[in-house]
Subunit: 593 residues, 2 copies
């Protein structure tokens, strides 16, 4: 199979565009040198090579099964999780204090990108374990931390997040799992959770569920939700016994079949014991820490599956001969490679533009996360604000556009793309979940326009526009891309107008109308910030070309510039239609009832 | 499961918009009355109810298998094909002369729509048999007709079309299957064909393959392709013997698993006998008759799967409670139905706008086919010209937009949409093939802009614009929709400008640049003609509302008008971006090589 990503491109984004090596100059990351970051990425390639890529197709053909109450996942999963634990990569980005290696999230994210591109479902086991352990490490008591975190980070135990319930879906207001205080620091947990990824497996010694539930008498709504650690097995008198976490059923999914999604029951007979994490009724705020990390992870899923689909379909187009060039009517000549058909080029550049633009956005977000850790005071706070603004976008753009990109990858292969003989159809099924996981696209549209944009008198957007404007000024100095900088400037101004238009409706006290097209606002927002990322990449490529690069580098930078132009000529025009609809006041979706 | 389509809407399009009953006034269809058309549609519902809907999911869970050289398809297929044969519906639209019932294609298409919405893969068996039989009936000798057509139309034998070869894909220039003249009116056929839908099954007494092959010494390219009838079994001395058509393998597909796609070998040991259809070297022109019929069938596939997904997700939204209205922050109130969330409404109206707009376009095309049969002279010819122009569009728009619509249907169900517990994920896998079957979207873009538009000094487009203009004038008389008529007028003018711009590039002798963005031209063209169909539907609804309709009808017409507005406010703005790109001369996909 084609290599699923391009290390040269990843290095370009991390080093030349974002300068992630500069993080090492901050005390928080002072134990690292840029060379060490390279070694971390090399190790990800080694893990992908040994534990993931060889089993990618097989995890789909032999999905997880529920046998006699235990879920059996693909046998390769165990060795992968063990290797990740032993190499210290499950919690590598945790602070030393929390038991991690204090690695920048940007580097941890790149490690994840490389693994996920090779096999996107199995990697969820370590991603979820990371998230669950991070919750305990951040908010748990010293006793909970000592009990759980080390064994989760070393890969012996895995973790999950248990939010969704049958009757509640996306609405966490309606979580109804009960937690009864048993008076001795333990709680009896009772309720059902659905779609629990990694909810059981045959190999982990224990599985640590982070469960949202309500204490007796807690307020209704999200203000009455607490967070509990509920493990599959609990220790009693020194031995491990069942904690009555039961796998009621396994969802049969369209894709991502390597990751079991479970319907779990807790304490049906009253024998499921949990421990409160942090304070009562603050569970949702804790959970949102994990959710936000997980959201960037889902955005990565869209990007790395699309990356794999792009590189595979590009290789196919470079090897498959079919038809003749449009300018050649002579059937006596041999067929040409399909990459020579303009429409195939269009489909390949579309994929490249989406994948590498989305990567720019995601690693930009990870850099902000790192800045918020290694800087202090207002500066750190501003990066945190930017990260909060961008998280729903960096989740949604790669998920939605990744789906479209993979779809074009299938199309490059024609009929073969629809068959199991090639991995494209699996990728198309796998990527479809990303716009549903961790909050659907609709939910994130509401989060962006309804919460992040209006917060603090629009501070986040102002910070973002300032950053973009600086990059526009920088780009204007490069004559080759000046016109694109000016175009982005206009588009950012229009986004500002659309935003003001929507906020005016909010100010009129019409929340339904304000948010009715928030999914389209999200689409526009994603398009503009990825156009910004492309301008940044184009600026770097343009400068590099001016400095007599090597032949190989010259080709790379020219292709970067070409792809930036493709994004501006083929993708940015879509803003015209989105702006028109978003400024339009015709109400067609909000009804009185 | 939710009814997969709305008969009231189908009747609206067929009767109120297109007036298909008026066909009965032409001598060619004089044996029919409008009431009889209703009975035909009722019979389709009965077939769907008895033979298709109950097995829709099961055909996916138990796909066709190749066992000991024979393909075993879902057991329900046999009874369905038999019923279709016995009720005379396999070749119902053939002329009496060709053994059919001379039913309008519009009615036959509606029958197919109802069946396909209930179960989209099994219906291909009769669709392909229809196409193969039509080729023989149209171009075969009297002996061939007598031998094959009756048993195909009565459902005892099924048919296929064998075009694609491993090395050729979409490029029919490179078809290399050989046909050796044996001198006695028979030919020895030797070669391999891939992706042959319905290529084998366990129940048909015989399978009749219509095979493209080259006679010895035939010219290279498409001008040297002949058409042969090659049956699975042939008669020798009164008994049926094998004709050496071998199933080499069965493709494992992402969806449409009820229809086996085969890799077939003909005459590997020299014992496959075929019969020439029509004249030597004219095979491709014959095959295109079948292809064009099949193309409308594939467009129908996009539309009827999207219809099923729409109606199912709408029902789900009407039954599933989750969250509260955006204007209600009180968690004490019970959850609301998800249809009350504006973003869910947007997803539902998007689906409805695509499905019913695509249906308008498809049945408009079928009406033109019928006019080309029942009218004469220049009038008939003009409708034939219009049909040729629209066929690639009526194939591509429903295929591409149907995929997007089904995707939104999945999204309405959230996580459940991704699981096998609901039929949406199957529909999403099934519909994906439609933009590949019978010529990919890219191929149809080339056909539209490269062939149909420039033919006869642009006559087809002129005819179409005249028709559209008449409907615009009619719509302008309705004050409620006047503004939309004016908007369409502007968009049609812009489409004309884009077309002239592209033809100018063609006139400059630059075929590659001319056609580089033909897929986007197709996207724009489809958008505008569906906007036209919506204006027609809106005009009828608007007139009907002025005439004091019943309560139920009033609701129906208001929702029609609403959906028309949705199309103009949410879909038509996409033309802005497409126009911009199509007028843009920056070349990013054509490279010298």
């Amino acid at each position: 199979m084609a290599k699923e990503y391009d290390r040269r491109n990843l290095d370009f984004i991390l080093k030349e565009v974002l300068d992630f090596g500069s993080l090492c100059s901050h005390p928080y990351f002072a134990d690292y040198t840029p060379d060490m970051f390279d070694m971390v990425l090399d190790s990800a390639e080694s893990i992908a090579e040994r534990y993931l890529r060889p089993h990618f197709v097989d995890t789909d053909r032999h999905p997880a099964e529920l046998i006699d109450g235990t879920v059996h996942v693909h046998p390769s999963t165990e060795a992968y999780v063990k290797e990740m634990g032993e190499s210290g990569m499950i919690g590598s980005t945790f602070s030393y204090e929390k038991g991690g290696q204090q690695l920048p999230s940007t580097v941890g994210g790149a490690h994840e990108f490389i693994r996920g591109a090779a096999s996107n479902s199995i990697v969820m086991f370590t991603g979820l374990t990371n998230g669950a352990a991070h919750l305990i490490a951040s908010f748990g008591s010293e006793a909970l931390k000592a009990e759980y975190v080390p064994n989760m980070l070393n890969g012996r135990w895995t973790g999950t997040m248990c939010l969704t319930e049958p009757q509640a879906g996306s609405s966490l207001n309606d979580v109804s799992t009960q937690a009864k205080d048993l008076g001795n620091g333990t709680y009896a947990i009772k309720g059902q959770k659905i779609f629990i990824s990694g909810g059981d497996n045959q190999f982990s010694e224990n599985i640590i569920h982070l469960v949202l539930a309500r204490l007796e008498g807690a307020p209704k709504g999200t203000k009455g939700i607490s967070l509990f650690v509920v493990s599959k097995r609990r220790k009693e008198n020194g031995t491990w016994v069942s904690n009555e976490v039961t796998s009621l059923g396994l969802y049969h999914k369209m894709g991502q079949k390597g990751t079991p999604a479970l319907h779990l029951s807790f304490g049906d007979k009253g024998d499921s014991i949990g421990y409160l994490v942090g304070e009562p009724n603050k569970g949702l705020s804790y959970m949102f820490q994990m959710m936000n990390e997980a959201r960037l992870g889902v955005g990565m899923g869209g990007a790395y599956i699309a990356s794999a689909a792009y590189h595979f379909s590009k290789q196919y187009a470079n090897e498959r001969s079919q038809g003749r060039k449009l300018s050649n009517k002579d059937p006596e000549t041999p067929p040409t490679l399909i990459k020579n058909h303009p429409d195939v080029q269009r489909m390949l550049y579309f994929q490249k533009a989406i994948v590498e633009g989305a990567m720019g956005l995601l690693f930009q977000s990870f850099m902000w996360e790192d800045y918020s850790k290694c800087l202090t005071g207002e500066e750190a706070e501003n990066y945190h604000t930017l990260l909060n603004l961008m998280t729903p976008v960096a989740k949604t753009y790669p998920a939605e556009m990744g789906l479209q990109a993979v779809n074009q990858g299938v199309q490059v292969l024609g009929g073969y793309g629809y068959t199991e003989d090639f991995p494209l159809e699996q990728m198309a099924r796998d990527v479809r979940i990303m716009s549903i996981y961790e909050g659907t696209t609709g939910i994130h549209g509401l989060t962006l326009l309804g919460r992040e944009i209006p917060a603090n008198q629009g501070k986040a957007l102002k910070l973002l526009v300032n950053l973009i404007q600086k990059d526009i000024e920088e780009a204007k100095k490069q004559t080759t891309i000046q016109a694109y900088a000016e175009e982005l400037e206009k588009e950012v101004a229009k986004l500002g107008q659309v935003t003001m238009h929507k906020l005016k409706i909010a100010a009129e006290g019409k929340p339904e109308l304000f948010l009715a097209d928030s999914t389209l606002y999200m689409e526009l927002f994603g398009l503009i910030v990825v156009a910004w990322q492309w301008l940044k990449q184009g600026t770097v490529a343009s400068k590099a070309l001016a400095e007599s690069p090597s032949v190989l580098d010259k080709e790379f930078y020219q292709d970067k510039l070409h792809t930036m132009k493709f994004f501006y000529h083929y993708e940015v025009p879509k803003a015209l239609g989105l702006n028109k609809r978003l400024m339009d006041t015709e109400n067609l979706t909000v009804f009185e009832s």
